[in-house]
Subunit: 278 residues, 2 copies
């Protein structure tokens, strides 16, 4: 497995590194970033996987979330993959829309032409990337998963379907019910085809209702988020959660919007939450 | 004095706001950002002015430095101006180089045509902007100044020449001796003309040698900074400081580079340093 290191930067006594590698899952070159806390020079450390939102790359969280101070203190590595396959061979939305295609992989495995060749982000995040990380870096196999918006959808759905692989799940401003919002319906219908029954395995509300969850879940949602009612629908998830016995907390945060300023304000809480379980 | 608010975002219980206003000093529309800590809803708070480096705007520090957690805890506002005048009427480097013209105002008052009409960033930062801030926001007149690279040069030279106006000075990776480095010589000769005697009032080494400093100074410099030897020359400033009785600390930080990852790693120390004096 060969990696190409793009950059390495010291931060909070640890290292921020970016790599490219040829992915067998997405059949293109993928970029990811990793933060290794200072403890990783002495011992293997657990990993938080961070899934970013629409339009993002591996860089947004690493540059804007302000997560490294706390992650260095707690001894947690952070891995941030890209949000879709990339490259000239990878098809994009016909209108280059921000909410489908490049930068909008929705952490699923596409079944429809022309998307299915490269848009296999579910398997990339669940299987190929952790295998690579655990083979090549000083980390344990203890993992948590978190993300923002489309990446919050990714974290919830991946965590719920792989409760044996992760220790804890969190999200900021997640798309909780993609089968019932415009972003989700556009993505699911294009990537998976027009039968809504096939969309349910990528819908956190449906998955939680069907399977429950043995893992602890923490979600933060800003009340001033412009996408709250049309796209994110946290109340749908709260309704499902209320019907089950769960270790589940969804905090509505007054005045906060959808930006990384919001994420930075509460990322320490999420890191501390995951650290308890890692 | 009329401001146009571009955005307002809640962060760490405080507010990040961006404004434009018509500047009488630079004779163009200027953009600045302010962080108001939660305490500012109850009382007036002191202000840290942050001056960014080459190519930056008001946004880089606010998005990448991770400063708001500590600033909110300490009750310090942060104001970040742009790094140059902007707009179609403002002349730029003939080759659109990154190190002169737009994004590269060097915090001086230009005397040469065509620069002198708009490139008056020294007076903008020292006079017009604080007057505006103190008239329009819940702040005291207690001020500190800091910055990065070209902005570290700005913070040092402005602080040294206005020891009655500021309580403390800090810098990350500052251009300490612009009369003796390529970035500085290019900027000073173009903005001020070819007589090096006229450049000295914008050179931190020359100013410190001539005037000394009654204010505390804290500087952090990464040892892995690619600009260290050719452009930044911290040893020149250390040599001058050693000849005086100063409250001066310049910390060489092993392994750190010139990026905001470096700044984020030590910004809490700078905020705590300024808080002691504000």
């Amino acid at each position: 497995m060969s990696f190409n290191k793009i950059s390495e930067t010291k931060v909070f006594g640890g290292l921020h590194q970016r790599f490219t590698h040829q992915s067998t899952t997405t059949q293109c070159e993928m970029t990811f970033a990793i933060f290794l806390p200072p403890q990783a020079t002495q011992q293997s450390v657990p990993v938080l996987y961070w899934l970013s939102g629409l339009t993002c790359t591996d860089e947004n969280f690493m540059q804007k979330a302000g997560a490294f101070r706390k992650a260095a203190e707690l001894g947690i590595a952070i891995v941030a993959p890209d949000t879709s396959p990339r490259g000239d061979a990878v098809p994009d939305d016909n209108d280059n829309a921000y909410d489908f295609g490049l930068g909008a992989g929705f952490y699923l495995n596409a079944t429809q032409t022309p998307w299915k060749t490269h848009y296999q982000m579910y398997s990339y995040v669940v299987d190929e990337l952790p295998d690579l990380i655990e083979a090549q870096f000083p980390v344990t196999n203890r993992k948590a998963i978190s993300g923002h918006s489309m990446g919050g959808h990714g974290a919830l759905t991946i965590g719920l379907k792989n409760q044996d692989k992760y220790q804890s799940i969190s999200a900021f401003s997640p798309i909780t019910n993609p089968t019932e919002c415009p972003w989700g319906i556009k993505a699911l219908s294009n990537y998976l085809g027009n039968d809504p029954a096939l969309w349910q395995k990528y819908d956190a509300c449906k998955l939680l209702a069907k399977h429950g969850c043995q893992l602890p879940i923490l979600i933060d949602q800003g009340e001033a988020d412009g996408f709250l009612e049309e796209q994110l629908k946290p109340n749908h998830l709260i309704d499902v959660a209320a019907q089950q016995q769960l270790d589940f907390e969804l905090r509505m945060q007054a005045g906060y919007d959808h930006s990384y300023f919001f994420i930075s304000s509460f990322i320490d809480d999420h890191l501390a939450f995951h650290a308890k379980h890692l």
